[in-house]
Amino acid sequence: MSTLKTTWHHIRRSPFQSFTAILVMIFSFLVISVFIVVNFGLSGVLTYFETKPEITLFIKDGLDTNTIDNIQKDLSSYSGIKEIKYISKDKALEIYKQENKDNPMLTEMVTASILPASFEVTVSNPNTLEQIYQNYAARNDVIDEVIYQKDIINSLLDWTNIIRRTGIAVTLVISFISFFTIFIIVGMKITNRKEEIRISRLLGASHLYVKKPFLLEGLFYGIFGSLIGSIITFSFVIVLRQSINSFFQPVEFISYDTSFYALMLVSEVLLGAFIGLLASWIGAKRYIKF
């Protein structure tokens, strides 16, 4: 009688316990999958804002080209600079006209001379914005005004950290719940089959021989539960992807990349297998005493 056959026999003989173990694993991985998808989505949103943040330095009128070049060189020397865009007075007027093309009254009254030239600095690291702000806010000789939405950036940074930490905590708690459920169910099954184990040992079965079906059972719960949990989540995600993404435009909240889901599925099944195997191994070690 092969180990697989014995494992299947154990699963069939106590269907409610097996069903509970699978259900808990499905639920756990449903929550974990949802959380991972949401976390990735929010990370995308935050990354979008993190990489978008700009600081705008309005420069004083009448500065010579050398001074403007020096400011640009100085800005380039900061770490994490993504882009430095110089908006001349003429360019500023062009942008202004474009933005107010439906209101000719506003465009007629404005000339390039009244609009200030500026530098729009985009960074990949939001901390750089703070440094630029600190250094240029007080330079009244060349800078007219600095616009930096510091509070929004800080708030986004805080949320990023909270969401990531919560994600790790939720995953850990749910993994523990799954682990203990399988541990207890495997323990109950071992207790139910105590006689069979004892007889098998008397007939010469090794410790590993009697343990193997229970290890495989835990592994089965882990793999099957995580697979079903992940597939249910992905099905919902695929169905709802279009409408969710249109809400978060221009950010792609839910990825369209198939390899992302394949990688996630493999990772979750591996995590499920690990939880199932570890729980049943510890359960078998704890309960098989003879």
Partner: protein, 237 residues
């Protein structure tokens, strides 16, 4: 398989179940262990199987001290022993055939030959029509035969039979004993059978170790401690 008990004592708390038990059983012997209920017969079989450990003394199986033996050595020894337990010890949710398949799997019997071997032993004990039934669906005699089939399946070197005729009618008892006698003669399988059925013991005329209150009262080939040691020394040389 050679079995040697050397001054074995076994106590359960204040109850002294076996006292100073010494005997030697060689390959191919047919030995009855007789005595009243509670005399200590089953305890001897449990000690051979290492189901119990002696309080003192030494038990050698094929010159391996099973008290000090490794788990692997004990497993190897158990795989050469066919056991017919007094209460059958069949797995309740496996059919007769599955119970036999289990022991064949434990001894790593070639997978492709398992079904063939099951058919052989089931025919040998006459359980063809009961092979797919579960232990709860069998009579006492059928359970005993199923347990015998399981023990025969592995072609054991030794069969330990604990009161195998206890639940059988006289006809089935004789059939079982005849079957064991045939196996002993044909395959040189050692048979150690506990019983209090003196009629069977006397009729077969085999070696009889009589236990009274945990002590050997009578053993026609009683082996003293000195003989056991000299035998061991001789074999090692």
């Amino acid at each position: 398989m050679k079995i040697v008990f050397d001054n074995v004592d076994k106590s359960f708390g204040i109850i002294h179940a076996l006292k100073d038990i010494s005997f030697k059983i060689d390959q191919g012997d047919f030995v009855f262990i007789v005595g009243h209920s509670g005399a200590g017969k089953s305890t001897i079989l449990k000690l051979i199987l290492n189901q119990l450990k002696p309080t003192s003394g030494q038990i050698l199986i094929n010159d391996i001290d099973i008290v000090k033996g490794t788990k692997d050595q004990i497993n190897q020894i158990r795989r050469k022993i066919g056991v017919i337990f007094q209460d059958y010890q069949l797995i309740f949710d496996k059919s007769v055939e599955e119970n036999i398949a289990l022991i064949l799997d434990i001894v790593s019997y070639p997978k492709e030959k398992i079904q063939e071997r099951i058919d052989e032993v089931i025919n040998q004990v006459g359980l063809e029509s009961r092979r797919f039934l579960f232990p709860s669906q069998l009579s006492g005699g059928e359970l005993q035969r199923a347990a015998l089939a399981r023990s025969l399946a592995i072609k054991p070197e030794v069969i330990l039979a604990d009161e195998p005729t206890g639940n059988l009618d006289p006809e089935n008892s004789w059939n079982l004993v005849k079957l064991l006698k045939d196996i002993n003669q044909k395959n040189k399988t050692t048979i150690i059978m506990t019983t209090h059925n003196y009629e069977i013991v006397e009729a077969l005329g085999k070696r009889k170790i009589e236990i009274v209150n945990g002590e050997i009262k009578k053993d026609p080939t009683k082996t003293s401690k000195k003989i056991i040691y000299s035998s061991k020394k001789h074999e090692h040389a």
